[in-house]
Structure formats: C-alpha cells, structure tokens
Amino acid sequence: MTVGFLLRTGPYTSQNVDTCYQLASRFLARGHEVRMFLYEDGVFNLDKEIQSPQERNLAEMMAELAQKGAKIKACGTCAKFRGLKRTDIIEGTKLAGMVVFSNYVKECDRFLSFGF
C-alpha cells in the first residue's frame, strides 16, 4: 500500500519529525510506498545546512528515507515565506506546489497528519 504523511512542524522543536521517520522507515521496510509532504515549518526538516553535533541529524534522516524510496516534497510557498531556497534542500527531495500534495493524497491508501 501507499502511506502519506503531512508534516507541518520543524526540526529540533517538535517530536513529530521523529515519529514520521520511525513510521516511514517501517512502512518502507514492509515494502509499502511512502509519500511525505512538508508544509509550513515542516519544510525546514529538509535543510541540508542543518548541523547537529552529538545529536541525530534530522535532515540526514529525511535524506535516508528518500534514498530508500520515499517520495518527499516540501511546499515551495511555505519555503519562500520562510527564507528557505531550492538550493538549500537535501538531495532526493524538492520544493513543489499543492498539485503534488493533492497527487500524494490521491495516491495514498492511508494518510497521516502531523501538526501543532
């Protein structure tokens, strides 16, 4: 099956991104497809400039999910309002519009929302 995530919170502020990572990893390991749309502060989870000495690197964890086949996109408008540029984003992920979000919703058999 295909499992979709909407993640609206940023890194090192809320546990949401950790929960999404744990669940998405397991869905991938079970052979499911994963779609993740990062919205509002969620876009910051893809910032490749994140440096987290002696702690888990959440951007690298997102990159790992992408590398394992998860499709991960972040809202371009949210990024623009938050000063995050296309070139700031980790490999294997992209900024996108709400068309992609809608397609993820269409493609999914299960859908999870993580907000504030």
Binding site: V99, E107, S113
Partner: protein, 119 residues
C-alpha cells in the same frame, strides 16, 4: 485512478497560528485537483466561521471571507455543533454551512477516503 473523497478537519482558531490559513491553501489545492473535499470546522476551528472579523488590524488576511468562498469553489463546508456550543457561538453568527452533530460527523468520516487534520 478513481475520484478521491477527503474530509479536512480545521481544528484551530484563526490568526494566532497559521493553521487555519495554511489549511485553506491546502484544501484549495485539493479542490482544484478534482478531489471531493469536505471541510469541517471543529474545536477552535469553528471560530473561523464567525462573521465580522477584522484581521486587517493585525495586517493579516481575512479568513472568514476566504472560507466563505469554499462552496462556490466546489468544497462543502460544515460546522461541528458541539464545538459551536462549547464556544458559545450560535450558527447564526457564522457564515452559511451545514451543521453536524457527532453522529453526522462520524458518518461523514466513514464516507471519505482520508481524513486530513489541521491542528
């Protein structure tokens, strides 16, 4: 792929957090891509429907005016009645929307493919 149906639950009050505003942008995306979209204002989300909002004093966009456009855009708008009652808001003080009790909300949820929450 067959047409999908979703219920979007807006659970937060307008302006204090971006939730209701960004939720609107998301559901406009859903509607424009042909997804049958049911928007339910629930919990603090019912405050979005209150008439006479003046967010220009905060230099912000008026959300009740945006949400009022939903039916015209093809999305269905609902108000959760127990949330209205808890908040001491009469449906008459709100923009036009179908009022749902818990049982009707459960049935709406059963009828859709996905529930997307903005909280």
């Amino acid at each position: 792929m067959e047409a999908k149906k979703v219920a979007v639950l807006i659970r937060s009050a307008p302006y204090g957090m971006a939730t209701a505003g960004e939720g609107f942008r998301a559901l406009i995306g859903l509607v424009s891509m042909g997804i049958q979209t049911h928007v339910v204002l629930v919990d603090d989300g019912v405050m979005v429907a209150l008439k006479n909002q003046s967010p220009e004093v905060l230099d912000m966009n008026n959300l009740v005016d945006l949400y009022a456009q939903l039916p015209g855009l093809g999305a269905k708008l609902y108000l959760h009645h127990p949330s209205l009652a808890d908040h001491g808001i009469s449906p008459d003080a709100c923009i036009e929307a179908e009022v749902l009790d818990d049982e009707k909300l459960r049935r709406l949820i059963s009828s859709v493919d996905h529930v997307i929450t903005f909280n």
